[in-house]
């Protein structure tokens, strides 16, 4: 293979496979662990895999996976293109409402409804992007916030109660029996595991592609990227739409898990949740915000159980401590520790 003047030796298939295994061994071990986790939990608690603690913890993990994809989608915007959006809940909550309304009021088949969620997400994120990307920084944040708040108000409006359930939310979303998380929790667990893996690898592939390089260039210095011939609007819009699609799918699966879609999913708190998970995990790392989502979801649950009504206050303190201890997020701290362990950088300054 010839790559910009450097000829590389062809490797046999076996060698390539071994190299691949060696390179991704930690990820592969993690994947095996996540696949076997329900059964491991079943063994630990001595209960059947579809009942008791194993079942409850599967539910918690499903929630973690969905929030992880939501955080990842936010990191694509904030970490890779430098867009600070305060309206990300519009996509998450929007996805939940679209699938809920289609399943409940129009008896749409699940796959068609999921396809509709994707189309809705591409359309609405394209629209929000087209409107908000004309301004920068805090103004962009305000435009996205305004649009998301408009959707939030719409979701609570009594005029559409028959479709949205207004302030009560859309309750009792019918989930096909074969996927009902109440009946087949394990199946739903694997669906969301497949979803998080697919979302991560798709996002990773995109940020490592030429498009991802342009995003990084735009984030670092927009003027230089533009002078190379790149339209910042087009590339940022693409990021907006891809990110919106992932968030909407996460929201739709969240609606299937809880069988409801409530206005709180569209509120600014849901956007702030994505922001916090991204900051705690590490901005611009993809995997960091996913771990951030895991940490905040699990810690939130444990704090709730341990401290009762005080949990929210103590959880806030916990968040402050995490941010102070890891100013570059969990992934940033991990990367620094690895670099120190390896010794001086191979690419040190001349």
């Amino acid at each position: 293979m010839e790559r910009i003047g450097i000829r590389q030796e062809a490797l046999s298939r076996g060698s390539v496979f071994r190299l691949w295994i060696r390179r991704y061994r930690i990820w592969l071990a993690g994947l095996v662990l996540l696949i076997g986790l329900p059964f491991l939990l079943s063994g630990i608690f001595g209960e059947p895999v579809e009942s008791g603690w194993p079942r409850f913890l599967q539910g918690l993990l499903i929630r973690v996976y969905l929030m992880a994809v939501y955080a990842l989608s936010y990191d694509l915007l904030m970490g890779y293109t430098g867009i600070l959006s305060f309206g990300h809940a519009l996509f998450f909550g929007g996805g939940a409402y679209v699938i809920g309304i289609l399943l409940k009021h129009f008896q749409t088949p699940l796959l068609v409804a999921l396809l509709a969620v994707i189309l809705f997400a591409l359309g609405i994120s394209g629209l929000v992007g087209a409107l908000s990307l004309r301004v920068r920084g805090v103004y962009l944040a305000m435009v996205t916030l305004a649009l998301a708040q408009a959707a939030f108000i719409l979701s609570e409006a009594a005029d559409f109660r028959q479709y949205t359930g207004a302030e009560d939310g859309l309750q009792g979303i019918p989930v096909p029996a074969w996927l009902d998380p109440a009946e087949h929790r394990l199946r739903f667990y694997y669906l969301t595991l497949f979803f998080i893996l697919g979302a991560y690898f798709l996002a990773r592939r995109l940020v490592n592609s030429p498009t991802g390089r342009v995003w990084a260039a735009l984030r670092e210095n927009e003027e230089r990227a533009v002078a190379l011939g790149y339209s910042p609007f087009a590339f940022r819009l693409l990021a907006f739409m891809f990110s919106g699609m992932l968030a909407a799918l996460a929201g739709a699966l969240n609606a299937l898990l809880n069988k409801n879609a409530t206005p709180s999913l569209l509120s600014v708190n849901t956007t702030i949740q994505a922001l916090l998970m991204t900051l705690v995990g590490g901005v611009g790392t993809l995997s960091g915000p996913m771990f951030g989502a895991g940490l905040l979801e699990l810690a939130g649950y444990l704090f709730n159980r341990a401290f009762g009504p005080l949990w929210f206050l103590l959880f806030g303190l916990f968040y402050v401590i995490v941010v102070l201890a890891f100013p570059h997020g969990l992934a940033g701290a991990w990367q620094q520790a690895r670099a120190l362990h390896r010794g001086p950088s191979r690419g040190s300054a001349p």
Partner: protein, 235 residues
């Protein structure tokens, strides 16, 4: 006249400041033209106005017959104008290879021109996987120029390539520019007259946002009075 680039009565404002006050000049094909003048004369503003980074309020900028005024910067670049801004404008967070790949206009641009680019800047070949921010100042400048060579540009605008470089590195960069002039017309902004005296075919002298003189480089170098008056240097 076979003009590659022609500016007519171009006015540019930055905020309320009137910086370019009717700049007019034409640049011929197959030439290296030096845009000269003291600090604040409007040289960098002229390049940025051509690229659409600071839009012209009035006048006409034509590149190979196409009007540039009013077009967004990315469209101007896509017409085949490579811009190397001052201050070594590289992407420090990306590797050298990523910086170069980013400049591709068509898939495979870099592979096609890599040999030529690395013959001009051999240092870059050895540093392909290095983060660009870790390169030395001279290497960063070479990378900034190399990036403009990846696509087949039909005009290069280079802003102060010798700025902040050690004399030996200036020589290296200028030698590369000397070789480049045979491939593509260049409009070069440079404060260091000594570095370009044997490099430029033509000169354009600017003062207070206007073009005051232009012509063959030998004419300027032979006129001590102009050198002293407009550039503050002796021949």
């Amino acid at each position: 006249m076979d003009a590659v680039l022609e500016l007519r009565d171009v006015h540019t404002f930055i905020g309320s400041f009137h910086i370019l006050k009717g700049v007019s000049f034409a640049m011929r094909a197959g030439s290296l033209t030096a845009l000269l003048g003291r600090n604040g004369a409007g040289k960098t503003t002229t390049l940025r106005t051509i690229m659409g980074l600071w839009p012209a309020a009035q006048g006409s900028i034509r590149f190979l017959g196409e009007e540039l005024r009013g077009r967004p910067t990315h469209e101007i670049a896509a017409l085949g104008i490579g811009y190397v801004p001052e201050h070594r404008a590289i992407f420090r967070g990306l590797t050298v290879e990523e910086n170069l790949k980013l400049a591709e206009r068509r898939r495979g641009d870099l592979a096609r021109r890599a040999e030529w680019i690395f013959s001009l800047f051999p240092d870059l070949k050895a540093a392909l996987k290095k983060p660009a921010g870790l390169l030395s100042g001279g290497q960063q400048q070479m990378l900034a120029i190399a990036r403009a060579l990846v696509p087949e540009n039909r005009l290069l605008l280079i802003d102060e390539p010798s700025e902040g470089l050690a004399p030996m590195l200036v020589e290296h960069v200028m030698a590369a520019i000397h070789r480049l002039r045979e491939e593509v017309p260049i409009l070069l902004v440079e404060q260091n007259l000594h570095a370009i005296r044997h490099l430029a075919d033509h000169y354009i002298l600017m003062e207070d946002g206007r073009v005051v003189r232009s012509g063959p480089m030998a004419e300027l170098l032979g006129n001590r009075e102009w050198l002293q008056r407009y550039l503050g240097v002796t021949a």
